[in-house]
């Protein structure tokens, strides 16, 4: 009984914290809309990692992802007056990030020659086995080989855990399209990875 009450209270507290966080973000957005750079800086700190993650998964290159992420926030700043709090701010920023990444890929005239991509920099490196690195590279290349439209949906779901509705808001596509693109991307990946990872 006490445990149940504790869980309810805890859930309530988490909910309250989420609401407070959302309110705080709304205030930051309002202040940034008025031209407050510090408030916008706070928004950058909240979302920069997610934005870099999205762009990295779309382009496959970390230095490029950092540049495009900066470009994303600059675009967001200049277009901030057009932001309407219909969907989440995160979805809105990710849409800009996704489009910025696609612009870069388009400018290069090709969707990244995945065989020329550098190996991912191993995180804290030493203990990671070579097999693990190879596996990670195979996965990364398989994701990059997906069509951009399906890849965007997959990245937002798998790497940023956006809900289907948030993905629909972010990419401005219907919910049904989110589901079909995600199913397609996963099916294609499963097929590709089961073939590739057998070799590894």
């Amino acid at each position: 009984m006490n445990e149940a009450r504790y869980l309810i209270e805890r859930k309530g507290n988490v909910h309250t914290t989420l609401v407070e966080t959302q309110q705080a973000e709304d205030q930051l957005i309002e202040a940034a809309k008025q031209g407050n750079r510090d408030a916008f800086g706070e928004l950058v700190l909240i979302h920069y990692q997610g934005v870099i993650n999205v762009v990295y998964r779309m382009t496959g290159e970390m230095p490029l992802a950092e540049d495009v992420a900066q470009e994303t926030f600059i675009r967001a700043w200049t277009k901030l007056h057009t932001y309407r709090p219909i969907g989440s701010f995160r979805s809105w920023v990710y849409r800009i990030a996704n489009n910025a990444a696609l612009d870069i890929l388009r400018r290069r005239k090709e969707e990244v020659d995945i065989d020329d991509l550098p190996l991912a920099v191993p995180g804290n490196g030493v203990e990671q086995s070579v097999i693990h690195q190879q596996q990670a590279e195979v996965i990364r290349k398989a994701v990059l080989a997906l069509p951009a439209a399906s890849r965007s949906v997959l990245v937002l779901r798998e790497y940023e855990s956006l809900s289907y509705q948030e993905i629909a808001d972010s990419l401005e596509i219907p919910l049904g399209t989110v589901m079909s693109r995600l199913a397609y991307a996963r099916g294609k990946l499963k097929q590709e990875l089961s073939r590739q990872l057998e070799v590894v």
Partner: protein, 205 residues
């Protein structure tokens, strides 16, 4: 139970189930099906494995510390470019009310003028029928008194003492003028909406 009997699988809902996007009866149906269907269990396990594999490719370290990243962005920020609206009414607040007030004011004016027409026609009818030969003078009580210039211009324009002219003016010309105003208002509203949508869309381009 039906699924068990007919052998229907739930492949099309497995992605949504795996992502925690199913609710209500659909969720119950998929859960019930998964309890006895090894094929769908295997398909779900594949999805879970795939997500685990994707998660096994972590984000490489970011070269800049968060504060450095934010500082670099801050340095590159241009002055806030508030795109001016082509019409002042696009801005929030009083501008939005203007869109509603304009047609309402126009409607009010039409009703007022229409009422004046009806009243003047009625009075003229009373006069023509001989019920009251001075009926029109009710409408213009100060007819014989000195009239100021504004009044005289207004009366000349409406010429209420001549029913035919007044009726022609009010029943033919005015509606056309108002229809024109309304179409212009509609066109401006439509252009404004298009601009708003375009600006919203280009936020991400």
């Amino acid at each position: 139970m039906n699924d068990q009997i007919t052998g229907n699988h739930v492949h099309q809902w497995l992605n949504a189930y795996h992502d925690g996007e199913l609710r209500g009866r659909k969720l119950e149906r998929v859960q019930a099906h998964l309890e006895y269907c090894p094929e769908c269990q295997a398909a779900l396990a594949e999805l879970q494995d795939l997500s685990a594999l994707l998660g096994a490719d972590p984000l490489p370290p970011i070269s800049l510390a968060p504060e450095q990243f934010a500082a670099q962005v801050n340095l590159r920020l241009p002055r806030q470019a508030q795109a001016p609206s082509i019409l002042p009414v696009t801005s929030a607040g009083s501008g939005r009310w203007l869109w509603a007030i304009l047609p309402l004011a126009m409607m009010g004016l039409i009703w007022f003028l229409q009422s004046v027409t009806w009243v003047s026609s009625l009075l003229n009818l009373i006069e023509v029928l001989g019920i009251n030969p001075n009926a029109v003078s009710w409408l213009l009580p100060a007819q014989n008194a000195p009239v100021n210039p504004v009044q005289s211009i207004a009366l000349a324009a409406l010429d209420l003492s001549v029913p035919f002219n007044a009726n022609i003016f009010l029943s033919l010309v005015l509606p056309l003028v108002f229809a024109g105003f309304y179409l212009v208002w509609l066109a401006l509203w439509w252009i404004n909406q298009q601009e708003e949508d375009k600006r919203f869309q280009t936020a991400s381009s």
